[in-house]
């Protein structure tokens, strides 16, 4: 029973049904939306359907034990097959087989017979040389005065097939190694932040982040300046990281993942100040956080001392705080001073230019807009399995080309001595491709062979 099961696992018969089962399961993983909250399944598919989905793990098919089991069976099947069928066909293809008699060659779908001038012994030599130059392996035998050269192509197809099937395992190994020994998470960094990565002897510093836009205002790229620091804070590497251009250093990769507005800060704010010394349209100025700006005339200084992205007054404490990280209600606290006098101090709101909390009626400040200061979302990941995956790509690509484009070919060439110093040559050919696909190549080879023999006999 167990033996039968093991045999079955290694048999070619299993592969088609097995691939179909994995296909059907994967299909279920496309049809059933994956990784939604449980409540959502109950909502979209009430009753027994959602309970089946949740019981079987259809909501996270690609990480269920039974999906891994299927993949495991496939891996065992591939290994078993490679060690049996594939190795066997590699051996078979390497064996030199002879035909019985020239008629056997004639009976092949690709065959040709012709006569040339010359001696048999010279012809054998010329043909062997010809086939060897074409990278064929040759061996010959002589029966009843007729010499047969058996020639076979290098076993590229068979080696390719073995490479292809075994390369599947590299993807498994890569995936397992990365899952067991790797990590991946997104870290939000502001300019100046320095972070460490677990078990990594270096730290990373964010030196700035920039969102670039084209003339229409559409985002064309976003970039973070990252610096790798050693334990004693020497700079080891600087790189501008953007989408599609990650930074890789000592086994850890940093990808530009996302960005967003920082909630407590901004780059510059545009403010419009109204007061007795300005005309009715006010005075436009730009200010950064906590950086005093001197306004023209009688030494007034403007300072933005706070920024809140989603302004609300906390009911209990009466303090201004932010309801969320989103810029739903941006507000700045602005103070106008002259010498020791405070002329104005209050909040100005971008979305509500007419709302003012002024302390003195003479002055008014309108918060026109601001350029946000962004944080950058950097995905930090360590995937020790990646070299296996890369190797798998290379191996499988090579294997696939060998399998499909380097068919195995055999030639059997009978050389007998005819009358009048003529040599009778009979060539039969077979290939792992269909006879009709092989025919053109066969004809071409035989033509060249004829030409070479004629040249040989005339010189």
């Amino acid at each position: 029973m167990i033996k039968r099961f093991i045999n079955l696992l290694g048999s070619v018969q299993v592969i088609v049904p097995l691939l179909i089962v994995i296909t059907v399961v994967s299909l279920a993983g496309v049809i059933v939306p994956q990784s939604l909250p449980t409540a959502q399944y109950l909502q979209i598919m009430p009753g027994w359907r959602s309970s089946i989905i949740l019981q079987l793990g259809l909501d996270h098919i690609f990480s269920t034990w039974w999906f891994y089991t299927l993949l495991g069976i496939l891996a065992v099947n591939v290994v078993a097959c490679s060690l049996t069928h594939q190795v066997k066909s590699l051996k078979n293809a390497g064996a030199m087989r002879f035909l019985q008699k020239p008629d056997d060659a004639n009976r092949l779908k690709c065959s040709v017979s012709f006569e040339v001038d010359g001696a048999q012994i010279n012809a054998v030599e010329t043909i062997t040389g010809f086939m060897k130059r074409r990278m064929f392996f040759c061996s010959n035998q002589t029966k009843e005065n007729v010499t047969q050269i058996a020639a076979r192509s290098p076993r590229l197809k068979e080696i390719g097939s073995l490479m292809f099937h075994l390369s599947i395992l590299f993807f498994y190994v890569g995936g397992i190694v990365s899952t067991m020994g790797g990590f991946s998470y997104v870290k939000e960094l502001c300019s100046g932040d320095v972070v460490g990565v677990q078990n990594w002897p270096y730290r990373i510093r964010c030196d700035g982040f920039k969102v670039e836009r084209n003339q229409d205002g559409a985002v064309s790229s976003y970039k973070s300046n990252l610096t790798v620091l050693s334990a004693d804070s020497t700079q080891l590497l600087k790189k501008v990281v953007e989408v599609n251009h990650p930074l890789a250093f000592a086994g850890v990769n940093f990808y530009q993942n996302s960005y967003g507005e920082q909630s407590g800060s901004f780059e510059v704010a545009s403010l419009q100040v109204f007061g007795p010394q300005f005309d009715t349209s006010g005075y436009m100025t730009a200010a950064s956080l906590n950086t005093p700006v001197t306004l023209p005339g009688n030494g007034i200084t403007l300072t933005v001392s706070r920024f809140i992205s989603d302004f609300i007054i906390d009911m209990q404490s009466g303090e201004a705080t932010s309801r969320s990280d989103r810029p739903n209600n941006p507000a700045v606290k602005v103070t106008l001073t002259r010498g020791a006098d405070t002329l104005y101090s209050g909040w100005a709101f971008e979305n509500y230019p007419d709302v003012h909390q002024e302390s003195k009626k003479d002055y008014k400040v309108v918060f026109v807009g601001y350029e946000p200061r962004y944080y950058t979302g950097i995905k930090i990941s360590h995937n020790p399995g990646n070299p296996f995956i890369w190797f798998g790509f290379a191996f499988m690509t090579l294997g696939i080309f060998l399998v499909f484009y380097f068919p195995h070919r055999n030639y059997w060439i009978f050389i007998g001595q005819g009358n009048n110093r003529k040599v009778i040559v009979t060539v039969g050919g077979a290939s792992s491709r269909s006879a009709s696909a092989f025919q053109a190549e066969f004809n071409h080879s035989c033509d060249s062979l004829k030409r070479v023999l004629k040249e040989g006999s005339s010189s």
């Binding site: 592969i15 296909t23 994967s26 496309v30 599609n244 530009q256």
Partner: protein, 277 residues
């Protein structure tokens, strides 16, 4: 509706290609019951005109938007149809089988109809994730592979017609034997399978790794490509496993092509990381 309403030269070329492909398709529809050589020849000429017009449309678009037109559904379909038409000529030359060409022509026409219904505006500004030469390799090699699958699908349709009809029917006698049709399908798949493996799966995974930091995330369109690949792998094995040759293999490969189309259009249906189309 005036189909020439769009003012760009590109759309004029596109609609001329559309008309040429439609003409080819109609001529072939006539060629199915009426075995006249001139019908098939005219259909081929129409295909050639369609290919030329579509090439001009694609060049015009590339010049206009300053990047390869490989970033939305309309552009993918256009490229898919273009490759399929190229394969049409290759296979017509090798196998001299106009009935195969007829099925390909019909499929190309359907693709053009689908393309013509989609929004055709070009993305002047690509989102950063799409600014990658791996993406260009991914999209172009994958659709080249899919176009080869389309040829296999056409051969399979003929295979079903051949095996489903009585041997004496006039139409069946114009088709080569079932084995030859099976071989054409296999040939096309041996062209498509490596391209699809490298283009759709490998280049796609490499691009995902660079853009999102992981080769594979079981995103619906990724799983779709995996499914296509698994079924074609099953098909390739079916050919040397007892009981799976002939019709069953043809069913496998037709199913695989159906999945190819579903995956291709999945952007419109499913969403996920590939939801930019």
């Amino acid at each position: 509706m005036n189909i020439f309403a769009q003012n760009s030269i590109e759309f004029t070329f596109f609609w001329w290609a559309f008309i040429a492909y439609s003409a080819s398709c109609l001529l072939y529809v006539a060629y199915f019951p009426i075995s006249k050589k001139w019908l098939a020849t005219s259909a081929s000429i129409a295909m050639a005109i369609g290919l030329l017009m579509q090439t001009l449309a694609m060049i015009e678009r590339t010049v206009h938007i300053h990047h390869m037109p490989l970033t939305n559904m309309f552009e993918y379909i256009s490229l898919f149809a273009w490759f399929a038409t190229c394969f049409y000529f290759v296979f017509l030359r090798v196998y001299k089988l106009h009935l195969l060409g007829a099925v390909i022509s019909f499929t190309v026409f359907m693709l053009m109809v689908a393309g013509s219904l989609l929004p055709k505006d070009a993305e002047m500004q690509l989102v950063p994730a799409l600014q990658s030469y791996w993406l260009q390799i991914h999209v172009s090699v994958a659709s080249l592979g899919e176009a080869a699958f389309l040829v296999a699908f056409a051969a399979n349709i003929l295979y079903f017609l051949k095996t489903g009809m009585s041997k004496t029917s006039a139409f069946a006698s114009r088709l080569p034997d079932a084995q030859t049709l099976d071989r054409i399908a296999y040939k096309a798949i041996t062209v498509g399978y490596p391209l699809f493996t490298i283009g759709a799966l490998f280049a796609g995974a490499i691009w995902a790794e660079q853009a999102w930091g992981s080769f594979w995330s079981w995103d619906p369109k990724e799983v779709g490509s995996l499914i296509v690949w698994l079924i074609y792998s099953a098909y390739l094995h079916a050919r040397f496993v007892k009981g799976w040759t002939g019709s069953r293999a043809a069913i496998l490969s037709t199913t695989a092509f159906t999945c190819t189309l579903l995956t291709f259009f999945a952007n419109l249906i499913l969403g996920g990381l590939h939801a930019y189309g």
